[in-house]
Amino acid sequence: MPLMPVVLWTDALVFLLIALGLIFGLHAARHEHLRAPWRRVVRSRVGVATLVVLSAYGLIGLLDTVHFRLKTDQPSSSVEPQTVQYAPEVLSLFDVALSGLRERQEKTYSAPFATHLFVKEAIQLPDGTLIRDYPRLEHGGSHLADPTTERGLDIAFRALLGMFKGLLAWGLIGAGILWLLARRRGEPLAAIRADILAGRTAIPWRTALAMLGLLLVCGFVAAELAANYHILGTDKVGEDVFFQTLKSIRTGLLIGTLTTLVMLPAALLLGIAAGYFRGWVDDVIQYLYTTLNSIPGVLLIAAAILMLQVYMSNHADDFASLVERADLRLLFLCLILGVTSWTGLCRLLRGEALKLREVDYVQAASALGVGHFTILARHLLPNVMHIVLITVVLDFSGLVLAEAVLSYVNIGVDPTMNSWGNMINSARLELARDPVVWWSLTAAFVFMFTLVLAANLFADVVRDAFDPRLRGVN
């Protein structure tokens, strides 16, 4: 086999999350009352636009989640041919797809689209004299003979080429969607196209396609340029910032989703049980969450992460590789963030369960002798799911932002892991340099802002669609 799959803990949880999502999706697709709110989501223009952006992020994150180790090219003489050796480095599909970006390292800082290094170095001229000047980059713009005259034109040409490719891809995907829609409705293509262009379709395809086009064009232009330039510059050790910020997407998404995944069982179980059983069960659970809530979140996370660091430094041999270690720390961070954030959901669920247990159908079920467990699972659980969903979606953006702050305080993800927090953390002194090194911060800002903004807008749409109290208002 040319490669050996590696499933990290977080990868496994992501696959579990996707499986759960698929099961829930299939279940919801068969039940009209579950489909109705989702229909409201995809019929809102903000809803589909943000959904397209979030899917793009999700796709990158997913590609970055499939990990494996490549087979090493071994010298044929020394090792027997039967044993296959795998490289110690754990890569993801995403790394391989962008291996050009990953491998093209410079010496240190260079500005976006630069052809020369950001700092002066002693260069030896062909005639033997030494001068101090900005040396050419090893990779950025290295195909140009005379950067000062050719660079502008080259960039413009490549950008146009990328745009053209992007439009082509967009045209193909758009035509595919059009064809599918026409087939499903049994209408001619032209009629569908006219409907979409005029914005008359129930699902706002026009907005979705426009957003998709924007993303595709941006993506293709970036890809075309990134093949020959460092489009967002390089950082202190010469790594491509564009690659770093793309790699950070996975970390951000994982923190936002896995945290909720790990806290959900506890919040659901305890919240519903407290509201349904009342009495001493309620007292105990309330005591539990009040206690956890009264510890300031950051401090609890700090304490837990400090303890993890002590444990890891004393048991350094337990971890096979740096990636595994960083991965476990990320998982632990999700866990501890979950511990600090489940209390809000638990309280909401308790309140809802208190209300639901007095509802007629629950009373009837209990009068008919239905067991507690069945009542909880069949009557209470499905009726609090909308609260769970709203909370999960609303919490997402806050968690992504929290990661940045925690990493800044050094209690976030592992320093070796790519994340926006680590990027900001290592870049915060760069603004004090003269001239200013602004690109790392800008890159982290733009990518993080886009994700959080999309998540916030999407959360509002989901809340409006799922909250029965708001249904009459809008």
């Binding site: 005591y287 539990l288 009040t290 206690t291 956890l292 809530n293 009264s294 510890i295 300031p296 950051v298 401090l299 609890l300 700090a302 304490a303 837990a304 400090l306 303890m307 660091q309 002590v310 444990y311 430094s313 004393n314 953006s397 932002l401 940045a404 702050v405 800044y408 305080v409 050094n410 209690i411 926006w420 900001i424 915060r428 603004l431 004090a432 911060l441 800002f445 993080m448 802002f449 959080v452 903004l453 998540a455 916030n456 807008l457 509002d460």
Partner: protein
């Protein structure tokens, strides 16, 4: 009322015990004091003596919960649990891992924290409420839509960027305020400008959006319609009726965070170099000073519970329908 207060205070005791137990387990059971000593001494191969000396000098050389060698009550008191955790109940924070008196440090460092937190709270409150009222006055117009988009965008920016951006634009480009630092007494005001401005701007997104929702909920109620039907001007309806009634959730929302203002803001203080409790905590986390982190956890829990009690009290003060029993 007194009985209610007393009961709430008594109810706080088991919660604080719980907090104490959690921190105790986190700090002493998950990792033994030996682990901590090795971590602090730094090297991979630390001699057993060095570990013992470190533990002795920091008071970690006692048994965890029960001391079989002592006699009488000392069996329980001459332990790490009593010395390090139970004493917190009397606000005896002890000394930090590098030997400073934590209680004294806290009493000194809370003032800079308050000097930033209080102006941020007050100015932020005034600005957010005014802006929310302005939006509600122009509800369902382009002012409303534009503002909501702006607020969501502002809410999506990490607080780190507000601080970095503020320092860069106001401090470095325009030289309007010193970038970071602090001074004693009243001379400190120069250093407070930037953190306060950044703090207020950073809070606009979430704050104004919440107040706008509050006002819109209030404005849909019957008594507002009655007030309008009586012919009151829109301004009078907004400021007298809507604002007056919306003040209840606003006030209680503010009261619950009041005690926590002491703790300061971790990020703001460390960025601006302000010697408050927030940067104290950050430094402790950075230096892995467990004694300080433990004290701050306990202090934070006490203040949080205080905030909850104050919230209940403030309900009775502003809302005549609420009675405490």
């Amino acid at each position: 009322m007194t009985a209610y207060l007393l009961r709430r205070l008594l109810y706080a005791v088991p919660i604080l015990i719980g907090v104490n137990l959690i921190t105790f387990v986190l700090f002493f059971v998950v990792n033994s004091p030996d682990d901590m000593a090795r971590m602090h001494l730094g090297e991979k191969r630390v001699t057993e003596e060095a570990v013992q000396t470190w533990k002795q000098s920091h008071g970690y050389d006692k048994p965890l919960i029960f001391n079989p060698e002592a006699t009488g009550i000392a069996r329980l008191t001459d332990t790490i649990f009593f010395e390090k955790s139970v004493r917190l109940f009397a606000f005896q924070f002890g000394s930090s891992d590098d030997g400073r008196d934590i209680g004294y440090d806290i009493s000194q460092r809370m003032w800079p924290s308050l000097a930033i937190a209080i102006p941020v709270l007050l100015v932020g409150l005034a600005f957010n409420i005014s802006y929310a009222l302005f939006i509600v006055l122009f509800r369902a117009t382009y002012v409303d839509i534009g503002s909501v988009v702006l607020l969501v965008a502002m809410l999506s920016i990490s607080s780190l960027f507000y601080i970095i951006g503020g320092q860069f634009i106001l401090g470095k480009l325009f030289h309007l305020a010193p970038i970071s630092g602090y001074d004693t007494g009243l001379h400190a005001w120069k250093f407070l400008i930037l953190p306060v401005i950044v703090g207020v701007i950073g809070g606009i997104g979430a704050g104004t959006r919440w107040y706008r929702t509050l006002f819109l909920e209030e404005i849909a109620k019957d008594y507002v319609r009655t007030a309008r039907a009586k012919g009151l001007s829109e301004g009078r309806v907004l400021f007298r009726h809507v604002l007056g009634n919306a003040l209840i959730p606003i006030l209680t929302g503010v009261v619950v965070v009041l005690p926590l203002l002491f703790m300061g803001s971790l990020i703001t203080e460390s960025f601006f170099g302000i010697p408050g409790l927030g940067s104290y905590t950050i430094d402790a986390i950075g230096n892995q000073d467990f004694a300080i982190v433990r004290s701050m956890v306990f202090l934070g829990a006490v203040l949080y519970i205080l905030g909850l009690i104050l919230t209940d009290l403030s309900y009775t003060l502003v809302d005549p329908r609420v009675k405490l029993q």
